[in-house]
């Protein structure tokens, strides 16, 4: 499969750029000097590689191209959202003028047509930006298709609709190397699994979110998934799974840390609301600290950053609970600032330990 190799090609191109810069520096400092033939061979090899990558994948070959790419990514993301909304409102504007057969045919045709268009664009769009636009429109068309069938024929809303939506999002994400569609698919999986977990205890599926613990099983599933299935060729996919997994764990903990009444534990005697909140606050600190430790150990920056973010949120909300009312505001913010410095020092130490361990291993 050629498609997912774009991210690999970009990484290789970046590494070539770094190598060339370092080689020039070593040459200037007199540490390493390749002879003319070697320099020529390396230059030609890299030029051929980059030309090949640029031809096939439209990669960024220098810093300026990279900066422009970021803008293009933002534009394609916003454009994709706007086009998806446009499809939705276009159908709403005119669907009433057609009979039911035509409505179904239009919905089905739009879903199939946009799917076909995405695949066709993918074969011609080396940059991937237009593919992203088309893929999100295809996903929106399919969501619109099933939800409008429900509206046209008065079908009882069901969480089972999330399964085909997730399946299509994953198909487009893996086939076209699209992280946006992967996130859409993961959101569908989160909604489905949490709804199912809630319905085991008899809750109507649309209310599953009112018990934040319903998200814990899907958190474990998402976090473990990239460890079970390798995503070597798909840059960023494993990170997205891990970040969503952590969000499904830490956001409910944050909520339950302040709303113990929403916990399943509140059904049992001996679990006062305040006790539950205290337990989840502690669990939030432990879980985010574990995420930082595991991320640093496995070299998962996404996990470290998510862990740090939540650790700071848990810490600051705790400070707010304790001291906002009793402290003068200058002192309160001073404590926050000092806490941030303390976190920086701890992380700096953690980084040094990690580097030392890495060097030791080499």
């Amino acid at each position: 499969m050629d498609t997912p190799l774009r991210s690999e090609a970009q990484r290789r191109a970046d590494e070539i750029g770094i190598f060339q810069a370092e080689l020039a520096r070593l040459d200037a400092e007199g540490v390493l000097r390749l002879d003319a033939a070697q320099q020529q061979a390396v230059r030609e090899h890299h030029a051929a590689l980059l030309a090949g990558f640029a031809g096939r994948f439209d990669i960024d070959r220098d810093l300026q191209a990279k900066q422009l790419s970021l803008g293009m990514r933002v534009a394609s993301f916003l454009g994709a959202l706007a086009l998806a909304a446009s499809v939705f409102f276009l159908f709403y504007q005119f669907w009433g003028y057609f009979d039911e057969t035509a409505q179904v045919a239009i919905l089905l045709g739009a879903a199939l047509g946009s799917m076909g268009l995405t695949v066709w664009i993918r074969t011609r769009d080396a940059s991937g930006y237009f593919t992203k636009l088309a893929a999100l429109v295809a996903f929106a068309c399919f969501v619109l298709d099933l939800s409008m069938l429900g509206q046209i024929f008065n079908i009882t809303p069901t969480d089972r609709a999330l399964i085909p939506w997730a399946a299509l999002a994953f198909l487009l994400a893996y086939a076209c190397d699209l992280r946006l569609l992967l996130a859409a698919g993961i959101c569908c999986v989160i909604a489905f699994v949490s709804a199912r977990v809630g319905s085991w205890s008899g809750i109507y599926w649309l209310h599953a979110g009112e018990r934040p613990e319903n998200f814990f099983p899907v958190a474990a599933l998402l976090f473990a998934f990239p460890a079970l299935v390798a995503h070597r060729h798909l840059t960023g996919f494993a990170s997205i799974y891990r970040v969503f997994g952590l969000l499904c764990l830490l956001v409910p903990m944050l909520v339950l840390g302040h709303w113990g009444y929403g916990s399943y534990l509140a059904d049992y005697e001996g679990f006062a609301t305040r006790t539950i909140e205290g337990g989840y606050e502690l669990a939030g600190f432990v879980a985010s600290a574990l995420a930082i430790w595991l991320g640093a150990r496995r070299q998962w920056p996404d996990t470290v950053n998510t862990g740090i973010t939540f650790f700071v949120i848990f810490l600051y909300t705790k400070f707010f609970d304790w001291w906002w009312d009793v402290m003068p505001k200058y002192l309160f913010f001073l404590v926050l600032g000092l806490a941030a410095i303390l976190i920086l020092l701890v992380l700096k130490r953690l980084r040094r330990v990690g580097q030392a361990a890495g060097e030791g291993a080499r």
Partner: protein, 289 residues
């Protein structure tokens, strides 16, 4: 497995077709055979869309099923004007035993305040709701409105100089008129989990509508006594799409919107059918003006 463009398209198309086929098969199964119920409703029970805000850009048309409940919060004999555009509530007939039968844990209620708190924090469950058209429940609402009007009229006569009593009596008369001519006659009268048992209990398919709904536990305090009951939050299908073929008839009715309280407003009758999967659809519109 290598995902070539052709394989990607084939997998996606198969998925789309399969999902559509499953949804449409469900529709076919729901509508095949004799409907579970078939009722002729009027504009009193089916509300036309208002067409405000974002709805202006929606070319489709859907009717909202307007149903009522004789509320457990209302005192005996008190007229509760919950009939116009109101759906959902705490039925009088929903007692602790029935809540237990519907799957809610009522054992904790005996444990005092803590137990009651635990009862009320249970989340909504899906139930099967029985709605009756123009039956004893509606008669009860009508009688309450008549008693309410008579009580306020008597108070007005006893206080002939009071503008306040006169205004209340006028309002009570308006409510009675509304109850007689405008308010929905469709009342939720029972609930269960076994639709077959409910249908056996209410066999008249042209009078009793059985639909899926959601119920949330609730505590009602009346006369210093706390009662465990439930709040029927919503029907599973809240809006009924108007098929394209029936739209012209209802658009005529929609055009004659009520401008004042005395204005008769739109009038139509529509046959609503409910299929095997308890999903409704509009079968016909026998009358509309």
């Amino acid at each position: 497995m290598k995902l070539t463009p052709w394989k990607t398209f084939a997998a996606g198309a198969l998925l789309i077709l399969l999902a559509n086929a499953v949804a449409l098969t469900g529709v076919y199964l729901n509508r095949s055979g004799e409907p579970d119920s078939r009722l002729t409703l009027s504009q009193r029970e089916l509300t036309l869309p208002w067409g405000w805000g974002m709805a202006k850009e929606n070319s489709g048309m859907a009717l909202r099923l307007n149903w009522r409940i004789i509320d457990a919060g209302a005192s005996a004999g008190e007229y509760f004007d919950g009939g116009f555009g109101f759906s959902g509530g705490t039925p009088e007939w929903l007692d602790t035993a029935r809540m237990a039968a519907l799957g809610f844990d009522t054992a904790a209620l005996a444990e005092g305040n803590e137990g009651r708190r635990r009862f009320e924090r249970q989340l909504p469950r899906e139930i099967v709701l029985v709605l009756e058209l123009a039956g004893p429940a509606w008669q009860q609402a009508l009688e309450r409105a008549q008693q309410n009007a008579a009580r306020h009229e008597a108070a007005r006569l006893a206080n002939a100089d009071s503008k306040e009593f006169a205004a209340k009596a006028k309002r009570a008369q308006e409510l009675l008129k509304r109850e007689e001519t405008q308010n929905s006659r469709l009342f939720a009268i029972d609930a269960g989990l076994d639709r077959t048992a409910l249908r056996a209990k209410y066999p008249d398919r042209s009078r009793f509508l059985i639909l899926k709904a959601t119920l949330r536990p609730r505590l009602v305090v009346r006369d210093k006594t706390t009662r465990a009951t439930g709040y029927v939050t919503a029907l599973a299908v809240t809006q009924i799409n108007v098929p394209h073929a029936l739209r012209p008839l209802l658009e005529t009715a929609q055009g004659t919107r009520r401008r004042t309280a005395d204005d008769a407003g739109p009038h139509f009758e529509a046959t609503l059918a409910v299929g095997r999967r308890l999903e409704p659809w509009l079968e016909s519109v026998p009358a509309a003006r």
